[in-house]
Point group: C2
Chain length 417, copies 2
């Protein structure tokens, strides 16, 4: 049986390694998510009801309902959201991912990423930049207007540019950025700069209106160092999904948090979620905030760690360690070295120069997590537990051990059947 | 006397550290270099006559004479260059720097960098990108046409953009790029990407003609990862010049190579050059080339090392080590650690995350070079010894010890006067 599992894991790992995520298009969510209707909302993490949701997620849903024109005021939006008329489900169950609250509604433009090796698609919203933004639970008119501008101005330009380019390999940008100090979860300075570099000419080609081009360039280049994160997330989702559903495989293919619970899914265990209460984040807070103000861990962005980046690649990004309040360069090395203990392979495409080009740890095995009691480390932003306040810091969270225990039990049970 | 020298060096170091190089303008060389005429050519490194010059430098001069319209054919240009009618002098003596052959002629647009702290200016040509380029000795029509396009299209756009921005702090970009794996001499991937990110919106604002904007974006983003080098060189020249001319200071303020000789200048020794034969470069060659095809070390780009970047900051750029054929990550650390032995301080503005944010080694002291016999390490491109062939590899060179010995002797002699 051990050989069967090892073989299955080798297959799953190889499928991750062979994945070639390419950004191919921008479409409205309803165009790519089958049978989606206006009253459907996708959110980060495992399933959660309106009543159970954390405040920032509720705030983001209010913003989405206003943006969709389903409510004309905040009060109306809250009433509609709690009326039972809105259907909530995880992004992950629609081949999608969203950072922080992860809210995706009907009209929102999404990045379409195709795994060219295996043909599967993945979707992510477009990063809103900093400030008053839905992903951190903002529902002000500002936040809604930004979403409308993104739909009307930014998305068509990105769509036209990527269509003209016939796709953009995200793996190439990610590999370069990793060699430039990004771990691609909480540090996307290099990837976002490389993205601009890649897109500057195509965007100039497809946007005739110079004023619009200036607006787009301003949005992409000013106060928007995490812009590439959503591309990387969709790339990792397309990669993880290609390794999902391998019988006997004990590799983790989803880690996602909704701000109340965190959940994992395992390649050989179908679409079942194994959940635990979302942990607090150990981090650094912006002036005026402390751990008492923080929401527990939230967002689908742990897809970065699921496929070996973010916290798992901390060694490649020593500059992020200070931002997260996570210690020194030696600590960064230790995080990554620990992660090799719970993974079944390394990704030579994601080579870390300061480890003499060793590949990032790849393929988290629930058996190894249980054997070692070492849990995946997740780099993350911290959002206020109150809706509308936004980001208040950044830090490191640990995926709770109990999820891996439940998953291993389910695995044992399944094998006994 | 030792205290007098130490104090002078502390002053010189502090002036380097306090320097704030800001890109403020683009002008024609003759507009900024006093009394320059059409028959004057500036070149990299210490003084050298036409007859002594290496072939790539002669080739670049031929290109410049064709570009200036002083010769209509290659033969005519060679004849003019060797006629005695052209006056050759070092860029460094005109507050300028140029990579590789470093040729600057009358009409060439140059970057104007102002050291805002001390008011001194420095100049550099604009990087031509890869391929058939003057800086590597090309004199084909292609190379000349590129120079004309740069003068007519690129330079006016950059000028208008930087004027509108009222200057761009180069130190900020350099500090960020250093944290992104650039040593800013042979690796400028991050700095060049950050430059595009910074300039995309301003360029869109000042270039109305969309076709021209597309040409400019293409030039800046395609096959042009060293574009920022020339900005960094001018920034370092403005920094080094601010530390020059401090009585009793034994700090090096110039390291420059003309492909035949390499020369240094010392803060307390005025404008005197101390030279030695340019060493061979120990490096990796492109397919089809070997050390037998290589010109000795060439270019003013060792201004990067003069002020603590390039080879001195190798530890911050482990990815460059493979490109240069210079070993492993451990070797990168050793290069930088050795350089702390011959410098009088560290630059906290240039902090290296993987050394727990230790500053780069700053202020090369000729006394320390002699005491330790450790010579500055210079990262460099390798050019073919034949004109018109171009870049054939990249590697590491050592500034010869004998220059430092001569300088120290001159210093002792001066003090005895």
């Amino acid at each position: 049986m051990k050989a069967k599992i090892d073989n299955a894991n080798a297959t799953a790992l190889q499928r991750m390694l062979d994945s070639q995520p390419v950004w191919v298009d921008v479409k409205a969510a309803h165009e790519v998510i089958p049978a989606m209707d206006k009253y459907q909302i996708f959110h980060a993490g495992p399933p959660v009801s309106w009543e159970e949701m954390c405040q920032p997620m509720q705030g983001a849903i209010v913003a989405a309902l206003k943006y969709e024109g389903l409510a004309t005021s905040t009060d109306e939006a809250f009433a509609l959201a709690s009326s039972g008329k809105i259907k909530f489900s995880p992004c992950h169950e629609a081949r999608a991912v969203g950072p922080m609250t992860g809210i995706i509604s009907y009209s929102m433009p999404v990045l379409v990423v195709e795994n060219k090796t295996f043909g599967n698609l993945a979707f992510s919203t477009i990063n809103e930049g900093a400030g008053d933004v839905l992903r951190f639970g903002a529902y002000s008119d500002n936040a809604v207007h930004r979403l409308i501008w993104m739909e009307k101005v930014l998305a068509p330009a990105l769509k036209a540019a990527v269509n003209k380019m016939e796709g953009l390999s995200l793996k190439v940008i990610m590999a370069q950025a990793l060699q430039m100090g990004d771990e691609l979860h909480m540090r996307n300075q290099a990837s976002s700069a490389l993205f601009i570099k890649t897109m500057a000419k195509p965007l100039a080609e497809v946007v005739d209106d110079n004023k619009k081009l200036q607006e787009i360039m301003a949005f992409l280049t000013q106060n928007n160092d995490q812009f590439f994160l959503n591309f990387a997330m969709a790339a990792q989702k397309a990669t993880a999904d290609a390794a999902h559903g391998i019988e006997y495989s004990t590799l983790v293919t989803t880690i996602a948090r909704n701000g109340v619970n965190v959940g994992i899914r395992v390649s050989g265990l179908g679409d079942q979620w194994f959940t635990a209460p979302a942990p607090p984040v150990d981090g650094l807070y912006f002036t005026g905030f402390s751990a008492a103000d923080a929401n527990p861990d939230i967002g689908d962005s742990a897809i970065m760690e699921t496929c070996g980046l973010g916290g798992l690649a901390m060694a490649a990004a020593p500059a992020v360690v200070r931002f997260l309040g996570a210690g020194t360069y030696r600590d960064a090395l230790k995080y990554t070295n620990d992660m090799y203990e719970i993974t079944v392979g390394e990704n030579p495409h994601f080579a870390m120069p300061n480890l003499d080009f060793r590949g990032t740890p790849m393929g988290i095995d629930i058996r190894k997590v249980i054997e070692t009691s070492i849990t995946p480390v997740i780099n993350t932003a911290i959002v206020s537990s109150k809706a509308g306040v936004g980001m208040i810091g950044a830090g490191v969270a640990r995926a709770p051990l109990s999820m891996f225990e439940q998953a291993l039990l389910a695995f044992v049970e399944k094998l006994n059947l």
